[in-house]
Symmetry: C2
Subunit: 280 residues, 2 copies
C-alpha cells in the first residue's frame, strides 16, 4: 500500500477489517467513490442521497446516512487532500447465514488514495468495445451502488484483453445501459439521451448533475429512454461520465468513428467551472 | 465473537482482513460452507470441484484450488472439530477500479464455527413462502458460489418478517429455482425433479450428491428441468437440501400441505448412513 493511502474504520485509523463482516461474506453493503479536490468533495450531497437510497433499500438502520456523512467529514478534516475517497458501508458482523440481525453495528470504511489527475477530464476520446457480459435485470438492486459488482469485474477483465479503453454494457435484451465505470449519454438531434435505469445500472452522481443542472444550463432537453446499439452508432456524439473522470467523449464504437465533440466540450467546460465553485 | 470461533487468513490465525480487499470492494471472490463432522468434511471433493469451477470462471490463478485445499486441510488438522467451516477466497488487493491485476496474491479466509446440530436433519417439515425477490438471469455467474449474495440477503430479510421457515425463490419468468439456502427437489410420479440452473442459482453439493449417488441408490430417476409454481404445489413431496442441514421436507407451500414424506425419509436415512462412512 503506497504511503499516500490512508484507511479509517468507524473513525479509527486501520489497516484491516474486523471479521466476520457481511460486506465480505455477501457483499451486504454499499459504496461511494468520490473525488476530493483540495480537501473538498464536490456534490457530496448527491453521493449522500444515493447512499441514503441504497441504505434504505437494503434495510440498514435509519441513521446510517448521518453516520456516513460524519465519518466522511471527519476524514476530510484531517488534511487538504487531493485524490479519491472510497466509502464502504457494510452491515457489520452477524451470525452465520444470509439473515441479518436487527440492530447491526455497521462498518464504515474510508479509504483515501492520492490522484493528481482527479477532476481533470481524460482525453483523447475513448475507444469503446461491447462487453459480452450483460447486466442482469434486478429491480430490487438497480440504481444503487451496492457491493455486488462481479458483472463489472468480469467486463473489466474482458476490456483488459480487448485493447479498448472502455466497454459498453447492455442488458439481456441488448439495450445499451452504461459503460463499465460510468453512465452513457447520446447527443442526438439536439437532445441528450441516457438509458433508463429501472432494471439495472447505477444512478451516477454526474448523470444526475447532467440531467438536473448542466443540460438545462446549456439549453439541452434531456431524456431517459430505451437506447439500442443502433441508437449509439447513429448518435451525433456519445459520452460517458463518472465522478472521478468527469465527462469523456467516445471516439469509436463498432463501425462508427466520431471526429467532433462540440457538445461534450461545452459540457466539460461548464463542468470544470462548476467543479471549482461548488461547495461540499 | 464466541470463543468457539476461529479464523485463519492464508494460514495465519487472524481476527481481521488486510485492506484493500477485492472481496469486500466488489464481492470479487467465492466461498464454500462445509459441515465438519469429527474433524472431517464429508464430500470435500464436491466442494472443491465447485470452487475450482468458480475460480476458473472468475479468472483466478490456476493453482488457487490447490492452495484452497491445502488451507482447508491445515485448518482441519488442528483439532477434532464439529461445526461449520466457511472458506472465502478473494482476489486479494489491487489498484482502485474494477480491473484486477494479473497475478494477485489471493486471500484465503477460513472461519470455523461450532455447531452441535450439524449433520442432523432439521425437523419438523418446513413451511415455505414465496420471495418477492426474483433471482436475476446471469449465465456468467450461475451455478458458482460467488460472493455477490444480496438477492439472498434481501430474501432472508423478507423471510424474517414473514413467519416462514424458508422462501422459494423464482426467476424472472416465475419458475422455481431454489430455496434461499438450498436446492429444491420435487418427488413427482416416482421421479425426482430439480430446477435447471443455467441462468441463476447455485449448484449445491447435496444437489449433486442426490443426482449422482443417492437417487440411483434408491432407484429413482432424476431430472433437471423447468419447474413452475404449479409443479411445486402438485408434487407428491417437496424437499430442499444444503450441506449444513441435509435434506429437509417441505410441509406447506401456498395453498398446499403435505403430511407424508416417505421419499424424503428414505433419502435422509441413506444420507445419514453415507455421511458417517464417507472420507474427506
Amino acid at each position: 500500500m503506497p504511503a499516500s493511502e490512508q484507511t479509517w474504520i468507524n473513525g479509527e485509523v486501520a489497516t484491516a477489517l474486523p471479521l466476520p463482516d457481511r460486506g465480505l461474506d455477501y457483499g451486504d453493503g454499499l459504496f461511494e467513490t468520490m473525488p476530493v479536490i483540495a480537501g473538498d468533495i464536490p456534490w457530496l450531497g448527491h453521493h449522500l442521497d444515493r447512499l441514503r437510497d441504497g441504505l434504505q433499500r437494503l434495510g440498514f438502520p435509519e441513521d446510517a446516512d448521518h453516520q456516513a456523512r460524519a465519518h466522511i467529514l471527519e476524514a476530510l478534516d484531517t488534511r487538504q487532500f487531493h485524490g479519491v475517497m472510497r466509502l464502504t458501508v457494510t452491515r457489520g458482523s452477524g451470525p452465520r447465514g444470509y439473515a441479518p440481525i436487527d440492530r447491526p453495528r455497521l462498518h464504515f470504511v474510508i479509504q483515501l488514495s492520492s490522484m493528481e489527475t482527479v477532476g481533470q477530464p481524460a482525453l483523447p476520446a475513448a475507444s469503446i468495445g461491447r462487453s459480452s457480459i450483460t447486466l442482469s435485470k434486478q429491480p430490487a438492486l438497480a440504481g444503487i451502488k451496492h457491493l455486488n459488482r462481479l458483472e463489472q469485474v468480469l467486463a473489466a477483465r474482458e476490456r483488459q484483453t480487448s485493447g479498448f479503453d472502455e466497454m459498453l454494457m447492455t442488458d439481456n435484451e441488448g439495450n445499451a445501459i452504461s459503460a463499465i465505470s460510468g453512465n452513457l449519454f447520446l447527443v442526438s438531434r439536439g437532445q441528450l439521451l441516457t438509458p433508463t435505469l429501472i432494471n439495472c445500472g447505477i444512478l451516477g452522481t454526474r448523470r444526475r448533475l447532467l440531467l438536473e443542472e448542466l443540460a438545462p444550463a446549456l439549453g439541452f432537453e434531456c431524456r431517459e429512454t430505451t437506447i439500442t446499439e443502433a441508437d449509439v452508432q447513429n448518435a451525433d456524439e456519445v459520452l460517458y461520465c463518472n465522478s472521478v473522470r468527469g465527462f469523456q467523449p467516445v471516439g469509436r464504437y463498432g463501425g462508427r468513428c466520431w471526429q467532433r465533440y462540440p457538445t461534450v466540450y461545452r459540457l466539460q467546460a461548464l463542468y470544470r467551472e462548476r467543479l471549482h465553485t461548488c461547495g461540499a
